[in-house]
């Protein structure tokens, strides 16, 4: 059970997941299981398939093989119970508050509740000052914070984040990491990709290490960083593999 009181969609069981585009297999049959409560960080060099894996789990892409299996009796409705934050946030040409209201409207929140929930989300993350500002005129860091608040407003059980800080300066990165901590503390499952080793060390409870479309390791963060099992992971941690 989560804070939101509905049946959990976790664990997420992914088996033999495959994905091909234009004849090239990019995800080559990976299997893993994600349980509730932890912060899972997906790592790997560029082209490993991190972002694709997130998108496949989130349902933005359809696998060419294998299963993305959410738990619960109503697995097909699970799509509304996980949200995603992208590397570059896409804000609509309207105010910050209107962006949240739009997301709530799409999610089927009754019209009368939307403004209150949008304001609650802005308030929760200290973004109330931005409410009336045109979202696309905000700085990159502010937009990303807004994107996370927007995802949070949807009350997801799982939050996917795809390189959420890679385009941001250190101060904005810190603010985003604090938000992720807050959301995690609320009981939301965090699944994020990053190529920032420091960030991974700070945030990860457990790690999925992808390389070239294959899952090479899934282990608790401590174990992964202390005793990587594969040569590729060791090279990656030493910074010898290109991101």
């Amino acid at each position: 059970m989560t804070m939101h009181g509905t049946l959990s969609i976790l664990p997420l069981k992914v088996s033999e997941l495959r994905f091909a585009a234009r004849g090239t297999e990019l995800i080559k049959g990976i299997s893993f299981s994600l349980g509730a409560g932890t912060r899972t960080v997906i790592m790997g060099p560029n082209g490993a398939g991190k972002s694709l894996t997130l998108r496949l789990c989130h349902g933005l892409l359809k696998p060419s093989g294998g299963i993305v299996g959410w738990a619960g009796p109503d697995a097909s409705g699970a799509v509304k119970r996980h949200a995603m934050v992208f590397q570059r946030p896409v804000m609509l040409r309207r105010t910050a508050r209107a962006n949240l209201i739009h997301a709530l409207s799409v999610a089927g929140v009754p019209r009368t509740d939307r403004k209150a929930r949008a304001d609650a989300a802005l308030d929760y993350f200290g973004l109330t000052d931005l409410a009336e500002r045109p979202a696309r005129l905000l700085s990159g860091g502010e937009q990303q914070r807004l994107a996370i608040a927007r995802a949070w407003a949807l009350k997801p059980q799982v939050l996917f984040l795809d390189e959420p800080t890679s385009a941001l300066d250190p101060a904005a990165t810190k603010a985003i990491e604090e938000m992720i901590e807050t959301i995690h503390a609320d009981g939301v499952k965090i699944v994020m990709t990053t190529h920032d080793l420091g960030q991974a060390r700070r945030l990860a409870d457990d790690v999925l290490f992808l390389h070239n479309g294959r899952l090479l390791e899934q282990s608790p963060a401590e174990t992964f960083f202390a005793e990587p099992k594969t040569e590729e992971a060791r090279a990656f941690i030493r910074g010898e593999l290109l991101w």
């Binding site: 989130h58 995603m84 896409v90 040409r93 309207r94 739009h102 999610a107 045109p134 979202a135 696309r136």
Partner: protein, 233 residues
Amino acid sequence: MDGDGAFSTAFQLIVSGDPTLMQIVSLSLRVTLTALIIACLIGLPLGAALAMARFPGRGAAVVLFNALMGLPPVVAGLVVYLMLSRAGPLGFLALLFTPTAMIIAQSVLITPIIVSLTRSVIEDLWAEYEDQLRSLGSSAMRAIPTLLWDGRFSLVTVILAGLGRAMAEVGAVLIVGGNIAGHTRTMTTAIALETARGDLALALGLGIILLTLTLILNAGAFVSGRVAQQQAA
């Protein structure tokens, strides 16, 4: 050509508040703006849907609408004429030689413009928004109003292109409207008539008034677009 004569004719017509002129101007605006509204009601959502959808034959549909942007007004007029004529399939509606017929003809003429240009605007926007909107759980239908609203500043130009075409058009309204004095005579058909009568100063004077009207409508759209853009980015 006596340019001074045209300007003074235009000026005199305007200041005298000539009732025939007022009637012609108001009919022109009514026909053009109604056609524009219909074309937008059809063209904006259809253009957005065409931008987002992927189906066999989509390329052909895109090419078709692009080509229809160049539909000669007389051809549009002739097709609508044949449909609405008493001898045609919709003859029972008794719409030929009425303002409604002119509205239909102009809608036929400018809807492809709205569809094609909207598709082009929304295609770019959809490329940027697709992942985010689908992540939020937006269905494609639900995305249409979102995209149209977010593309509004570019779409104003699209709508103005349609307006320009409708305002300037004479061939179609002449055929289906009949240029009946006091009933279906618009600015452009009046200009054609005065040219035919050899009263070139009056024709050009009317042309100046028409151009001024178009200018005012465009300026209004430009200014309100600017103001809105500053407020909403």
